[in-house]
Symmetry: C2
Subunit: 172 residues, 2 copies
């Protein structure tokens, strides 16, 4: 009923993404606090500032599309954030926790990469050029954030997790 | 408690991913049935065959890692699949539904891209070379599936959704 045209689906996806980003604004400070590595803390705090700006961009997009700013519950992002919370509450080596936090954050980034890719493509097809550019800007930022996390995962942070967690397997 | 080393976290993530893939095996036939475009139906059916093979690969990975084959409920994937189900049940133009199904499937693919990237990196760090190769093979397949969906989204399928759903906006 609510969704019958591509424009409707675009607005609905925008609402879903808006809810996802707002949940992330609440989750990132918890993740920064839980992180051990200073680099990872900095990456989460930096991404919080970026995410706040992305929320603003979504609000601009609502205006450009002539739709009221509204959230729609995003069950997938709730699940992703729930997984991060469970991790923080586990009894776990600090460096292993860092590795897990990176993994949780990369799932969130990939969710957003898929969402903004869809928003950008649909906005372009419907002739909403300015909104499409906003979505592209955020998409580029999300891809960059994912790349930063991959570098952290492959370099220091996971190496520390490895040596902290599995010293006994290290004798080969 | 359960998770204290990177090896434990790897096994836990493997269980989570196993649950996610098994849910996807159940969801893909529904998505293929709901799709209108023959190309999209074929893409979903093809990805079902690929996913069944990916489930087998995960079972091999459990064996290589010396862990029993077990699932752990993956709330994020449940949320993603729930979103797809809601879409199928909406009153929606068939071509617009196709666009929405592509978007839902791309979120699933990106979830898996993040998951397999993590599994591959951790397996490498822990010296599980053979398991890392299995994860890399699946990661490549997921990236390819995402690319196929992007092509479908940018070409025929969304163009049809556009002309079906927003004819009234077409007079500029």
């Amino acid at each position: 009923m609510a969704t019958s045209t591509l424009q409707d689906l675009l607005i609905e996806t925008l609402r879903d993404t808006y809810h996802a980003e707002k949940q992330l604004v609440k989750a990132l400070p918890r993740m920064a606090k839980a992180a051990t590595s200073e680099e990872l803390k900095a990456a989460f705090n930096n991404h919080l500032a970026v995410t706040v700006e992305q929320v603003n961009r979504l609000e601009q997009a609502f205006e450009l599309l002539g739709a009221p700013v509204r959230s729609k519950r995003c069950a997938a992002m709730e699940g992703l954030i729930e997984e991060g919370k469970e991790l923080i509450n586990e009894d776990i080596e600090p460096q292993v926790l860092d590795a897990g936090l990176i993994a949780a954050a990369q799932k969130v980034e990939h969710y957003e990469i898929a969402a903004y890719g869809t928003l950008r493509t649909w906005a372009e097809m419907l002739g909403h050029t300015e909104a499409a550019e906003l979505f592209q800007t955020t998409l580029d930022e999300e891809a960059e954030a994912d790349e930063t996390l991959t570098q952290l995962a492959e370099s220091g942070v996971n190496a520390e997790a490895n040596s902290a967690g599995v010293e006994e397997e290290d004798e080969r």
